[in-house]
């Protein structure tokens, strides 16, 4: 287990006597073991001044985790009775936000605790501040992503389809030392780049198309995520060029705003104001960014609604976009790590307009 991470969670418990963590990724983060219990119960109980307790079906053999008590159960055992040896009926229990009703409803019926509240914030806020080990993996993951982007660009040629390009990206990531995708690669040609949710299809590349790659891999379990928008054979001109430069400016100015103690909504605002002042406000239809780590999307937004202050070693994306089907769909995305006075940009792939010949 990771003592420091667990003790960070415990200092953040607010109004609860214990938290029952169920999310396998959060358990991996805290204990260093990735356990997939499928439809069976999996829980890590954290209580101040007590040894963490992991409840695990006997089907998933795990001998030990240092510093964690493992309680095995079998199919058919009374889970609530088992849990009641560690949770008192007069305690307030923090419940993992991902705990499924199939477990929560029986606990409530049994009277396991006095009250049940969402207890995930303590874990989420701990995960939002990366430690050095995590930063090392995130840096490497984004380095691989930078190298991969250059390779992906070389897959673009006359007559190729989005799917054909996307289908080749996994092998390239693996060659470069990644384990796999952080999410399936998005490749969008022409008007498809104006759909921020576009999935690669049989669309064939045409001269003059924009070519958008939104791609990421994992390294030691940590995600990268980067977007670049290229142009096939013809440089963008007029309004198309204007849109590209606005998005680029929104990315770069928002990045300059990042440092410790800034409201995340204010970082979003820098990018949004630039795009709005440029006349494309209605075409920037999503938040500026999301936190990232073991998961591609973790707790924490760079959006108008998220007023928390940045902390040193928060890692999130800066990904402004303009999606105007009549002109251009374009997004430029990097990952950044918050530092005391500014930020470290994890992607080094340039933002310049690039023409693929």
């Amino acid at each position: 287990m990771n003592k420091e991470r667990i003790s960070n969670v415990l200092t953040k418990l607010d109004g609860v006597d214990a938290v029952l963590v169920c999310d396998p990724i959060a358990i991996y983060y805290l204990c260093g073991k990735m356990l997939h219990a499928g439809e069976r119960f999996l829980g890590l109980l954290l209580k101040r001044d007590k040894e963490p307790v992991l409840f695990l079906n006997i089907l998933f053999p795990l001998k030990q985790i240092e510093g964690v008590k493992i309680v095995n159960y079998a199919d058919g055992d009374d889970l609530c009775a088992m849990l009641s040896e560690y949770i008192k009926a007069d305690e307030v229990l923090g419940i993992d936000k991902t705990m499924q009703a199939r477990f929560l409803l029986p606990m409530q019926k049994y009277g396991l605790a006095k009250d049940y509240v969402d207890g995930s914030l303590a874990v989420d806020k701990t995960r939002a501040v990366k430690d050095e080990e995590e930063l090392a993996y995130l840096r490497k993951s984004s380095q691989i992503n930078d190298m991969a982007m250059a390779r992906f660009k070389a897959l673009i040629h006359e007559g190729v389809s989005e799917k054909e390009v996307a289908d080749q990206t996994l092998a390239i990531y693996k060659e470069l030392g990644a384990e796999g995708f952080s999410f399936p690669s998005i490749v969008a040609f022409g008007k498809n780049s104006a759909d921020p949710h576009h999935m690669p299809d049989d669309t064939i590349l045409k001269e003059g198309d924009a070519v958008l790659f939104d791609v990421g891999c994992t390294y030691k379990g940590y995600c990268s995520d980067m977007t670049r928008t290229f142009f096939y054979k013809h440089a963008p001109e007029g309004k198309r060029k204007e849109v590209y430069e606005l998005v680029r400016k929104a990315n770069e100015e928002a990045t300059k705003k990042v440092k410790e103690g800034v409201r995340l909504c204010d970082i979003d605002k820098v990018a949004r104001d630039i795009i709005t002042d440029g006349g494309y406000g209605p075409y920037f239809t999503h938040r500026l960014g999301h936190f990232i780590g073991i998961e591609d999307h973790e707790y924490g937004d760079v959006s108008a609604a998220f007023k928390d202050l940045t902390e040193v070693n928060n890692v999130f994306s800066i990904e402004p976009g303009i999606y105007d089907p009549e002109t251009l769909g374009c997004r430029i995305e990097d990952l950044v790590v918050v530092t005391k006075d500014s930020c470290e940009v994890l992607n080094s792939y340039p933002h310049d307009i690039e023409i693929i010949e």
Copy 2:
């Protein structure tokens, strides 16, 4: 939407006034649309004599589903207030077993309903009986899997690793017309075949090894799942042959037991008794089978604990195994469809001992 499936669910509602389905796969099954709302709320409310209502974040644009009322909400909207227009405070609400605590806890705090109970069984029991459209897809998916097995066998050669073989399986499925995996291919050489949870690693093939493939693909969203155990260069002899033949017999005799109205636990017993009588009971460490459809593992077990009766058009796996690291790890798995008097075996790949040269 699929009127018949929805009306089947409604006839199965037991002690609840409505059921709020959240599982995207169940919603796909009932409405024909695969919606991924990520961490946002997604719900399909089913009530007798009322039009189904789908609650969907406005970020996921969906114009219409015939026969379903779509209620859009935006981030920040009061979900409980929205739901309370369709659910009365004195009603008992069936909750999807997969609904996350982040949604259930606020509903309970709001007082959305009088009581909350697990309402998934109505959907699960409907899904467990496949209709003709589903059977057609399941048949085709298993046909592809049969063809794929022959191709996978041809990947086996001197010096190859499990991972190298497993990495080539997806492309073969796609060539054969599948969309993708129903689960990542399991390839296990030698002693690794005695670990039922083994994931392909860098183990290199050796003469005399068992070669286990547990593989499946999807066709039109429907899963196949088959296991065969081959032998590299040397036929199994003595106890190894005995283990293989026991597993084969357990598979074939259990399959003969299948017809409408049999307790699922009794099908498990046929296979378990054969393996136990053969002296390998402790090495058959899992249930005989699981139900399958849009998901590789669906509600319904072929196990000692599952006493429900089979129904016509239930589809499940028959997969006895013996995992004796000193002798042999071996599993033989097929999918079957229950008929009135027997069953249709969806896999035609033979059970005979096969030596790969």
